[in-house]
Symmetry: C2
Amino acid sequence: MSPAPFAHLPCPVAHALDVLGERWSLLILRDALTGVRRFADFERSLGIAKNILSARLKSLVENGVLERRPSKSDAREVEYRLTDKGRDLVTVVVALAQWGARWESPAGTAPRFFNRHTGAQLALLQLRDVDGALLRLSDIGYEAPSAAASAAA
Amino acid sequence: MSPAPFAHLPCPVAHALDVLGERWSLLILRDALTGVRRFADFERSLGIAKNILSARLKSLVENGVLERRPSKSDAREVEYRLTDKGRDLVTVVVALAQWGARWESPAGTAPRFFNRHTGAQLALLQLRDVDGALLRLSDIGYEAPSAAASAAA
DNA sequence: CAGTATCCCTCAAGATACTG
DNA sequence: CAGTATCTTGAGGGATACTG
């Protein structure tokens, strides 16, 4: 996200991308969400260079998505664990995974998230109204900040 | 996505990011999902340089996410419209928006998606089992391709 | 309006060597 | 194991001028 951060754009997607927009960030997050915690494991799992991994982990820690701390079992080891903020990204990662599996991965080759108690697949993420009704894209509007906060006041 | 594409990684998130991982792609998608169709409108809305916008639109068209075609109302104008594949990204964009609004945007300043018939907010995207039960992160497993396809066969 | 054509610059990313 | 230190590269991105 070097040249010009998106922070000035009045858009939560932009703000999210200022934290996650770099090439490796969401993949690191995917690993973290599936239980990876150690530097060397991220490295192996992703095939990422050490310096890049180091930089990305640092930025994710700075942004409060991961927490860095010594392992409980062995104080010499370091663990990167998800914060609540990081854990909350599971919908983003799963949404990407579901889209990727459907449209970009050769059928049957993609790993999948599943319910570890039953083995069942996750339901597709879908847009719903607060009352639970399914929404189509055409039902959805996007409310500018001025129209929302300002006009409401 | 220059140096080394993620295509070789056995991960649908990686494959999705090969299409969407560049800085502007998801923001362009957000615009497209909220009805933006013309080059100049993307340009104004995002404050993106023309050459970059041109390149991103081209790549999104190549990847089947957008479709480029003359406007129906004025054949001299060009429109970029979402394909089904592109429309299917709404969950990704909304997931990012919800996360960004919650964790990165100053309270109340972020635009929001809403039900345009009722004005109600969208429900938070949440992970559910096929039967509709809410799932927590700890309930979720991630199944490697070998363990899935190979072992199943 | 919807782009192309240039030029420039920075930084993400890669490779490798080294350290506590 | 978990990084830091360097060096290099090449693409992504920005600005501006120009065109059908």
